[in-house]
């Protein structure tokens, strides 16, 4: 026994001196992978695996109860050539993204600039403006919104003071989507905070030099603030656009899950939900999901490619 343990002790020391490939991997890489393990399991099991599966399902008919039937590209064909609801939901979502994101960012920037003038009570204002962002995703706020813009709702009560009889904004297909855009703009607080942090990074002496040269505030905004802020604008625009594409709860609550009136609040995500969990057309819903991914991917790619021309990085 003793000789054996001595024998085994000696080579071990040698092995440490000239480690084999395996022990080197164990020593260097194992701790990293052990710490990464939960994420890695989630990434493979809940992201990559499902992504591949949903790509496969998008080429099948699948009702959750019987096994998927391969149907080739017919889901995609139907979507683009023979599904008015798909195009309606696409229009609604694009309209929402195109109007809500720029308006929200413009508001956020405007208020951030007002707050960045060294005014007193900044923390209080900042907190008040941020509160709607924090609460806004809640079902309760969607319920509140439905009431505010109802026929006998708050907005019309205020309009009645000026003798204006407002319509029911929620059930009018011309205005229903705008109530959701306003809800999104109302939550401008979090991009505003990011803008504020960005504005603080701009060196104050640049403005001093500019105003000594007689540059007006507007010129200073266009020539100094805006260019130096473009990385933050870019960042906010990407985040807010992805969020806008994913928006679901307000449209679901305000329309009672239908996307009505006349599909005017049928967000893409809502249509996908209906296909998957109301009609159990899981194959078709998977195809919808991949089109959404392609859409978000194309948008992100365009943003990154175009950023070369309008985003200034000061290196």
């Amino acid at each position: 026994m003793t000789t054996r343990s001595l024998e085994s002790a000696a080579p071990t020391r040698e092995r440490v001196a000239t480690p084999t490939v395996w022990s080197r991997i164990w020593q260097n890489d194992a701790p990293g992978y052990l710490f990464l393990l939960p994420w890695l399991i989630g990434f493979l099991g809940l992201t990559i695996g499902p992504m591949v599966t949903s790509l496969y399902l998008s080429f099948t008919d699948f009702d959750l109860l019987t096994s998927p039937d391969w149907v080739g590209a017919s889901n995609y064909m139907r979507m683009f050539t023979n599904d008015p609801k798909f195009w309606a939901s696409m229009r609604v979502t694009m309209f929402f993204v195109i109007f809500s994101v720029p308006l929200k960012l413009a508001f956020a920037l405007m208020v951030a600039m007002l707050l960045n003038r060294g005014i007193r009570g900044l923390p209080l204002y900042r907190a008040l403006f941020y509160l709607p962002s924090l609460l806004g995703a809640s079902v309760a706020i969607a319920i509140l919104w439905r009431q505010i813009f109802a026929g006998d709702g708050l907005v019309n009560k205020l309009l009645a003071v000026f003798d204006i009889a407002g319509p029911s904004w929620i059930s009018n297909p011309k205005t229903s989507l705008w109530t959701l855009i306003i809800l999104s703009i109302w939550q401008f607080g979090s991009p505003m905070i990011i803008f504020l942090a960005g504005l603080r990074q701009i060196p104050q002496d640049m403005y001093e030099a500019a105003s000594l040269d007689g540059a007006s505030r507007w010129r200073q905004f266009v020539k100094i603030t805006l260019p130096l802020l473009t990385p933050v604008v870019f960042f906010n625009a990407i985040i807010q656009t992805i969020e806008a594409f994913k928006s679901f709860t307000p449209a679901f609550i305000i329309s009672g899950g239908t996307g009505n009136p006349i599909n005017s609040t049928l967000f893409y995500t809502l249509y996908l939900y209906q296909e998957a969990f109301a009609f159990f057309r899981m194959g078709y819903a998977s195809a919808l999901a991949w089109v959404l991914l392609a859409l978000v991917g194309i948008f992100t790619a365009i943003s990154f490619l175009s950023s070369k021309y309008w985003v200034h990085y000061d290196e």
Binding site: I25, N28, P31, G32, F35, L36, P38, W39, I41, G42, F43, G45, L46, T47, P50, M51, T53, S54, L57, V111, L114, L115, R117, I119, P123, L128, F129, Y130, L131, L134, G136, A137, S138, V139, A140, I143, L144, L154, S190, I193, I194, A197, S211, G214, S216, W218, F221, K246, F248, T249, I253, T269, L272, A276, F277, M282, A285, A289, L293, V296
Partner: protein, 294 residues
């Protein structure tokens, strides 16, 4: 408030003190007006939940003519299952999510920020990619998977992904913070024979309380608010969350009992509002440094 910035633009650096004062006052007036406009719907909702039922649709004021908590009592028991159950469920799901997210995300972040291993940058890039992925792409296979595991109508589909660090935002947030801690700490500890586990648990985690608290609070709020997950995974009323309870309220009794609906809506916002009240500095710094979505 929109004409104030226009006024500011004509002012140059050589402004008189009187004029500067005036601009300061105008700025405050604009900001106060804007905050009141933004908070008005919230204040009205709160007032509506306390005012007599017949006043809800006639008054735009934010002060009820008389106060009563009847709507809260009606709303609390307005559905077959009481809101007490929904609150308990929501707290369980949110609480477990906080534990899972903080543990799993900090472990992954520790690996990315402090350890060296093969293909690290590849995995990091993958993690960043998941940030941009719309959840719909994984939704249906995940649903099929959880259904086969028999997890539908349990809290597991809502909680287990958190223990697998499914929300990359928090990993990213923590990596940023961990990278800012001095590297000498790990090196000294390693000299003393500390294992990576001990370095993580005894050195990095205690030093990272601010970022862990930020992640915990945001996880709680987002899980509390989550509507889509519970909507597809929880179908029995006794396992509903508060958000699902509210939605059921709008479908059924909500048409007749607006007071109860508004009372429960206000109540559902209270936990979030309390976090806001006590931790707003952490929340705002968290957003400012990483640019989180909400």
């Amino acid at each position: 408030m929109s004409d104030v910035p226009a006024k500011l633009t004509v002012v140059t650096g050589t402004e008189s003190p009187g004029r500067k004062r005036l601009i300061g006052i105008l700025t405050h007036v604009a900001l106060i007006a804007a905050s009141l406009l933004m908070l008005y719907p919230l204040l009205w909702l709160m007032a509506a939940s306390f005012r007599p039922e017949n006043e809800i649709f006639t008054s735009a004021s934010i002060i009820p003519s008389s106060w009563s908590i009847d709507a809260y009592i009606r709303g609390w028991n307005g559905l077959r299952t009481s809101f007490a159950t929904f609150y308990l469920n929501s707290f369980i799901i949110s609480g477990l999510s906080v534990v899972g997210n903080v543990l799993a995300c900090s472990m992954a972040a520790f690996a990315f920020a402090r350890l060296e291993f093969k293909f690290k940058s590849f995995w990091f890039a993958m993690m960043l990619m998941t940030l941009m992925l719309p959840y719909q792409v994984t939704l249906i296979p995940q649903y099929v998977l959880f259904r086969q595991l028999g997890w539908v109508n349990t809290f597991l589909p809502l909680v287990v992904p958190k223990f697998l660090a499914a929300d990359g935002f928090f990993i990213f947030l923590m990596v940023q913070f961990f990278r800012g801690l001095p590297k000498e700490l790990d090196e000294a500890a390693q000299m003393d024979g500390c294992s990576p586990w001990r370095i993580y648990w005894k050195i990095i985690m205690p030093l990272s309380m601010p970022v862990l608290a930020t992640a915990a609070i945001f996880t709680f709020i987002w899980t509390w608010d989550d509507f889509f997950g519970p909507l597809i995974y929880l179908s029995e009323m006794k396992s509903y969350t508060v958000m699902l309870g509210l939605r059921t309220f709008t479908d059924s009794t909500g048409e007749s009992d607006y007071g109860g609906l508004f009372a429960m809506s206000v109540l559902s916002l209270v936990p979030i509002f309390l976090f806001f009240l006590f931790f707003q500095r952490l929340l705002i710094e968290g957003i400012a440094t990483t640019g989180m979505k909400r």
